[in-house]
């Protein structure tokens, strides 16, 4: 067993639900030497999590200091209420992407408000289940902490410490504030993507045949898990509906501008819609839920020769720099000469030097 990390949260921590997030939290806690207990009604997930070293089976005489409900939003209230009764001194938290409805339901079922502090780590993967879990999934990500009005400061501090022990950056928000934020940046975009993709289901195949990268980007998240997302959307229905109202109003306005604005008139009214979009797009941070500006971007213009991409990544490997992210400009589908490498700020000068020494055309 690893020696406990000096600043690590005190265990044992019980993780209920060994899916992607629960198992990743458990692995991150184990990395810091924290004692982790696991529980799940899903036997295969639980077995994989244990075999991956995410923790030990919960026994009847265990007394967890913190209980993390890492189950689907619909199940969180019951799990928190039961944990509140089973462990009368434990801090209670969750990782659900909706807070107000889920936590108020937990209170209604009897969870102790003084020990309950909501949480939402801004991390995920396009795969689900414990097999996709990673101990570094939360590293550098934001972890939204949503205390209730009645949450004791001691329990809030413990959930912050839990987030930090997992490598995340805690950020505090009100419940309604959190739910409005995720409705805007995650839940309403999911609906838009699904609705747009749904239009294609009824369309003529030769229309879809000419689809490009833009449509692929706009509909990628439409392929998401239907069970999880119907659960999330309904749990956050009022906030999602409010954003959709704004989007619908803006679409109606745009539609009306289009049909009333003559083609040969210099004054193009739809321009204002496009301009607002350019401004809004520029505000989005580069990385999901990471602390802002965590990484440096280095752009490389590759020569138009076969093998240049391989030569570039070899050079990165030789320089012993870890890539945090890669973006390859797509010439509507094919990788072109422009590659953006994202690295830790302290590694950036070393990588730039190494690439320039090999005559790569480094643009930033």
């Amino acid at each position: 067993m690893t020696a406990p990390h000096p600043d690590a949260v005190m265990g044992p921590v019980l993780v209920v639900g060994t899916g992607l997030i629960g198992t990743s939290v458990a692995l991150a806690l184990r990395r810091a030497g924290v004692d982790v207990l696991l529980s799940d009604v899903d036997e295969p997930n639980l077995r994989i999590a244990r075999e991956a070293g995410a923790g030990r089976m919960l026994e009847s005489d265990d007394l967890p200091v913190i209980v993390v409900a890492a189950v689907p939003p619909r199940v969180v209230p019951a799990v928190l209420a039961k944990a509140s009764a089973d462990y009368p001194h434990a801090t209670l938290t969750d990782v659900a992407s909706v807070k107000e409805r889920v936590l108020s339901e937990a209170l209604r079922l009897g969870a102790d408000a003084s020990r309950l502090v909501g949480g939402h780590p801004m991390a995920g993967r396009e795969v689900s289940g414990s097999a996709g879990a990673r101990k570094d999934l939360m590293d550098g990500r934001l972890w939204v902490i949503t205390p209730l009005d009645d949450s004791d400061a001691e329990h809030v501090a413990r959930v912050r410490s839990l987030a930090e022990t997992c490598g995340a950056v805690p950020v505090q928000m009100g419940l309604a504030e959190h739910d409005a934020a995720v409705a805007l940046v995650s839940h309403a975009p999911q609906v838009l993507s699904s609705v747009l993709a749904g239009q294609l289901a009824d369309s003529r195949p030769e229309f879809i045949q000419i689809a490009g990268q833009g449509l692929r980007d706009m509909t990628r998240i439409a392929a998401s898990n239907v069970d999880l997302w119907s659960d999330i959307l309904e749990a956050n229905a009022p906030q999602v509906a409010a954003v959709l109202d704004d989007v619908i109003a803006s679409l109606v306005r745009t539609r009306d501008l289009l049909v009333t604005s003559p083609f040969d008139e210099g004054d193009r009214a739809v321009r204002s819609v496009l301009e607002a979009g350019v401004v809004g797009q520029s505000l989005i941070p580069g990385k999901h839920g990471s602390a802002p500006s965590a990484f440096r971007e280095i752009t490389v213009l590759l020569a138009d020769r076969p093998g240049e991409l391989g030569r570039l990544f070899s050079a990165v490997g030789v320089a012993q720099v870890n890539l945090e992210d890669i973006r390859i400009e797509h010439v509507l589908g094919r990788p072109s000469g422009l590659v953006a490498l994202f690295v830790q700020p302290e590694a950036a000068p070393r990588l730039v030097d190494a690439l320039q020494a090999l005559s790569f055309d480094v643009r930033s």
Copy 2:
């Protein structure tokens, strides 16, 4: 000078407008040995195109066999009408992404209907101008050909041959059919992206701070060129408005389902919207405007060690396989173990063998 390609379209071909598409068309024609004449009111673009070897300056005694209007949609009608008068035997075509309104306006200005055949190569880049042009931009892409009712077969055949000479795959459509298709797969998605991004412009910074990869994907095209897109949207206004009407109706229905469906009820109505989205998303071809199934996808699961990405691309280089596309699964921002490589079908077995010989975990 290159010897003419035996099946190449007969020149000289006059390309009016040396932006990204015009210059790329010119370079592709030059690659096939075709005599190319260039003309542009934008002096810097014209100079860069000439220096890149895209063709020679148009002289007053030149008699082009084909004129390609590669100017913004708003300017296409005048360019085609002038070309029709200047060169009474030339085939007239364009590359605009809207056909009905643009070509009917060209006829109104006096372009000869028998010699006019619309065209729209389904290729582009996230950069504009002649500096971004590439001779292989159209290789393997679809090039929609839209004859008018009065177009002579000889001129239709010549435009098909132009597309093929540029490396593209010609596909014939009616004008209204083309415009409805691009409204669905390109123009309406652009409006959705701009409207969604526009919501962010008025929102609180701490909300945007927690934005993830989904929002980044959904708003990427909102950063597109405002001049070009207001031009395109207004030229195709009726068709775009029709798609927006469907999208708005579907969003209103979804919103109503959300606010009327109780959280704790088993029957989740919003599920139908998400399920239609999954179906629609699955219909989109993998590559923009390429002939369907042009590439084979090879998925590699990388070990969780630094340098594996570099080792992979080195292996691809050693195997002398050209990558047509790369997709790296993003763990909400960071490259994870799953990398999809897209290659020509004939190169796939060779690459799989090479990667397996180096103990890579190849999944397909």
